[in-house]
Amino acid sequence: MQADTSSDLPSKGFLRSALDAMLVPFLAILTAVVLGGIIIAVVRGNPFLAYYGLIQGSFGSAKALSETAVWATPYIFAGLAVALAFKGGLFNIGAEGQLALGATVSALIGYALPDWLGFDLPAIIHLPLTILVGVAGGAFWAAIVGFLKAYTGGHEVINTIMMNYIALNTISYLLNGPMKDRDPNNVIARTPLIAESARMPEIFEGLRVHWGFVLALLTAFVIWWLLNKTTLGFEIRMVGANPDAAKYAGINVKRTIIVTMTLSGLLAGMAGALEVTGLNFRHELGFSIGYGFDAIAIALLGKSHPLGVVLASILFAAMRNGATRMQFLTQLPVDLISVLQALILLFVAADAIIRYLYGIKTKGERVVLTRGWGG
């Protein structure tokens, strides 16, 4: 039941607190890269060629940079979703389901709304509406879990996972049935393309990077501002640090838990809605699989700091994006990236190992992100 001193209750500056938090993750990445190189060598690959391919494939050209930004966009939103929940003492494993649900309802509004109304909407109304509905979908999905946590003590870890399975089963049913693309050539579980009026304009011609990336960077700043400069943010961090103290200080803990969870789901839903309106222009079954777990790793790697989340997202995006080039050069399976990411996460989570390896003194900080099953 220790207090979460790392959530910086007396708030520090944006950059200062970010730099402080970055040393150990940086060394953790370094250690993971070295260990990953050893693994590559063991399976008879060339680690230098592999890492060269990884970097070339992710930052080597305008197209590579654009694709890295494309990958980073949902990562930033989903990573912020998990990070915000962490700050509030909640562990949202459900970003995956919230994101997928957000994408699905967003796609529905995107392709079906003009038909329901019987006339075409102008983009200025249709696009924001499509995004908003997706966001609301994610927020609703997470709010259920927040409500259960606040009023019944049902643990959010299990409930978000269950909600993931419920969401994925439901979406699989919808995309194979009522929402399936009726095109006679289509055999895939996917929705029809959304209307032109629900699509985001492109930034650069011929590149897939979309305004969602800019929005993601802005959102990261907004979340930092929310957490550190507003009363709501203070309440969230206070409940996360010590719910008992928060209660005696007059904070409505139940309400704060529900609000935190809802905001978290909102961000995850945003990730889904932007994938639909900015990138794919439809939702396809299975495209979002893995985002939720990557988001957890990203939030941990970024130490739940919004800037840290952005940097971690770009790192993970670069790895995912560069993996194809790496596979092309070395014939190593892309799944190697998952092993690397798990290693990074392992060393970030067990920062005691890193501190021991590199002789960094502990500053007496103990991160306690969740509190057993009690609720």
Partner: protein, 369 residues
Amino acid sequence: MDLRRFGFILLIIIVLFGLVVFIGQVKSPPIVIITSMMATTIAVATPLTLGALAGVFCERAGVVNIGIEGMMLSSAFFGWLSAIYMFHVFGFPVGVSIWTGVLFAILSGMLMGLLLAVLSITYKVDQIIGGTVINILAVGLTGFLNRQLFFGRGSVFGGNVPNSPGVLPTLHVPVTEIFSPLCHSAECLQVVTSINKVFDQKPVAISAILLVFIAHYILFYTRWGLRARAVGEHPKAADTVGINVFKMRYASVIIGGGLAGLAGAYFTIESVPSFEPLLTNGRGFISLAAMIFGNWTPIGAWTAALVFGASQALNINMQLFRDVIPPQLAILQQSYVVGLIPYILTMIILTGIIGRTTPPAADGVPYEK
């Protein structure tokens, strides 16, 4: 296990069984449906029972283990892999290969348990995060090795996934042989053979049930169990009277890992002889819900696992009786709706509507000397 909880479990199981009997009666006699449901329930509940037991061991000693899913997944993979290696590469007979697979599944589960122990006991990493690391590591490692070992450069299998040596045999209990001479009608014989089906189970399923009672005995009737529980309830007090908290926690988490490993063996060595990425499909987490619902007791966790088994059996039977589902229950024709039942049940159970559960007092708290 209080009576109220037990009554609730009994009620759910009766409702689930009753529903299938009601729908399926036009096709098969009730006794056949009930016994086949029971057999399926026990089989499907096996990994959940073992996973829940893994959780009970870890958490009774004060270590929250949400990594059961990852432990199951990795041991399912390594058990299956070692069975294949023993059979195809080293040329051992089928039986030896399969049992080596079971052994390696348990060992890799224990290894994952050791990792969780190092992280959460020695390095005092937040235990929920430690479990998440295991879950993500398991997904990455099994996915990577699955592809690299079979399709990678220099793979001994050269791009083909070889056939696994097979699955564990069903152990036959001679109920029919003993009781059929007493029967003088076809109906009686049918009853006897259907009841026999409930008893004919595979080795992991049988050992899961035995382990429930063994775990109950160890935890509540031995000195070791008392110490393990003391460490989970009040480590400081346990330490004061000379119990080595770290050693007890290490032992419990590694035992838990071994049990999760046996659950992994169920998937790839007992149920079907193949591995696919992410095959555990959330059953590690459902095990945790069973453990919580069973109030951190082995027998309670087992009965809760049976509820999930029964809801799975309902799902399977609904597909069998799909064509005779009456129109007013048409919703049950959607296999997706029925497939949601275990997940929704888990959530309902966790809300505590049938009474609150109490975790061990020091569950999830790293011990500092």
